[in-house]
């Protein structure tokens, strides 16, 4: 009688993509309230990492630490490190504007500027000093093509971005984020306000974009996390209502054989 192990769960450190973002012992405070506690997380390059967990567990807060978006909220401070390509983005002297160029973001609700489609896309590049019309035209076409929106809007680039459908607006916001050539794209529930078809388009887009970009997505939709991501990070709050990293692994493991009972309970709908 012999029992032979047929599967061998690939270990995270073996044969994986290089590290893009390395979060080390990160805590984040709103005033005295500790919203995140000692988070350790490794985001791999040109992979999709999903952050899941119950409402209020700090998923979006964590996502916003990756491009220092939390700095915009008064009375916040962070401890620990978020290293982007090895450099701590919270180190003194870091150019926050440059961090946000390299780490773009798409929000839950599409938020195009009340400007034309063209002006929405070139907003970032103009801010960074691109003035040449043909350069800007090229950026607009490339970005809209990458966001799979070009064919639908190429004849009406002067029209208001707000005149587009919800799904199109979200893709416009994605094009706007891509226009400044980021390395990392943060997505905070990018499809939660969209219908199923528009949701699938965004998911397909993520699949295409991950060839060139590192994507981190916060989602409440378990199936979406399971469908689109390579890695999944599970968060929860502790007794102090502070967000913690519970488990992090390849997505296939998180959804078929998680190690932590709380992850199991969450992904099977026992709480959350």
């Amino acid at each position: 009688m012999d029992m032979k192990l047929q599967t061998n769960h690939a270990h995270l450190t073996n044969g994986d993509a290089p590290v893009k973002v390395d979060v080390k012992n990160l805590s984040m405070y709103y005033g005295k309230f500790r919203a995140l506690s000692n988070i350790d997380l490794v985001i791999r390059e040109k992979q999709i990492t999903a952050i899941i967990g119950p409402s209020g567990c700090g998923k979006s807060t964590l996502l916003r630490t990756f491009n220092r978006m939390n700095d915009l909220t008064p009375n916040t401070h962070t401890e620990g490190q978020v290293r982007l390509d090895g450099q701590d983005i919270y180190a003194p002297g870091v150019d926050v504007v440059e961090v946000r160029r390299r780490v773009g973001m798409v929000f839950q609700r599409p938020n195009p500027f009340p400007k034309s489609i063209y002006d929405n896309v070139v907003y970032g590049p103009r801010l960074y000093g691109v003035r040449n019309k043909s350069d800007l035209d090229e950026i607009v076409e490339n970005s809209l093509r990458q966001a799979a929106l070009w064919d639908e809007v190429k004849d009406k680039l002067g029209q208001s971005g707000l005149a587009l459908s919800g799904g199109q607006q979200q893709r416009l916001c994605l094009a706007r984020a891509l226009a400044v050539e980021p390395d990392v794209i943060l997505m905070d529930e990018p499809a939660s306000a969209l219908d199923p078809i528009s949701t699938l388009r965004i998911e397909e887009l993520m699949h295409d974009l991950v060839k060139d970009y590192t994507i981190i997505i916060v989602t409440h939709n378990m199936q979406q996390a399971a469908r689109v991501s390579d890695y999944t990070a599970m968060m929860m709050i502790d007794d102090q209502r502070s967000g913690q990293m519970i488990e992090y692994d390849k997505t296939e493991i998180i959804f078929t054989n998680p190690k932590d009972k709380r992850t199991e309970d969450y992904v099977t709908g026992r709480f959350g």
Binding site: K4, M222, T256, G269
Partner: protein, 227 residues
């Protein structure tokens, strides 16, 4: 709460698996009992009841498909439902082995058994005992039982080898009995395969409990190794 409904539905599916298992147990014991008595009408009943087994298997498969489609199971739920698909298929095939024995009984017509059946009913009894406990282990996710039950397959293999050797002596003594000996050999072969499929059920229980897909080598080719 939604989860409660889902749990209830999973429980119903598990109950159905137990019911299917019990139908298969009856079929195995019934096929050997009717063979022992050369009860052709009884053998025909086994064939009809095999249709019920097939229907029950499809019914459970459908239940599981609906749960997968509507509940999008994850983690343990996913392993459980995927494994149930495998287990009901194993059970259905065990039913086919019983049907095969009933068919042999019918094809034997009015020819008497080559010898009184002694080890064949023992094999059937052992199969059913192992099957019953393997399904209990599945329901309780009893890892220990799931690992040890397959070891008992050696007993079934030993009975098979014994029957084989005995039938060979009959054939050597009188080659005219080859066909009747062959029928019994097929009966024993079917019963030997039942125990192998019990092992497959135990492998699924291990998967449900641990997430590890293991192949238990229960030496079902021991017979061939001896040759």
């Amino acid at each position: 709460m939604l989860r409660k409904n889902f749990d209830n539905e999973i429980q119903q599916v598990k109950d159905s698996v137990l019911l299917l298992g019990s139908m298969v147990e009856q079929a195995i014991l019934g096929s050997v009992e009717t063979l022992k008595k050369r009860d052709i009408a009884g053998a025909r009943r086994i064939l009809e009841e095999d249709q019920d087994i097939n229907r029950k298997r499809f019914e459970i498969e459908n239940q599981v498909m609906i749960l997968i489609a509507t509940q999008q199971p994850m983690a343990h739920d996913l392993r459980l439902l995927a494994s149930i698909m495998e287990i009901i298929s194993e059970l259905e095939r065990m039913g086919d082995y019983a049907k095969g024995i009933a068919n042999i009984n019918i094809r034997m017509g009015d020819q008497p058994l080559l010898k009184p059946l002694i080890d064949v009913p023992r094999m059937a009894q052992k199969d059913v005992d192992m099957l019953h406990r393997s399904l209990t282990a599945f329901i309780n996710e009893d890892l220990e039982a799931a690992k040890t039950i397959p070891m008992e397959d050696d007993e079934v293999d030993a009975l098979y080898n014994q029957i084989y050797r005995e039938l060979m002596t009959f054939i050597i003594a009188d080659p005219k009995v080859i066909e009747r000996a062959n029928w019994l050999l097929w009966v024993a072969h079917n019963l030997e395969r039942v125990a192998d499929r019990v092992t497959n059920i135990c492998e699924r229980t291990i998967f449900i409990a641990t997430g590890e897909l293991v192949e238990i080598d229960n030496s079902d080719d021991e017979f061939w190794k001896q040759k």
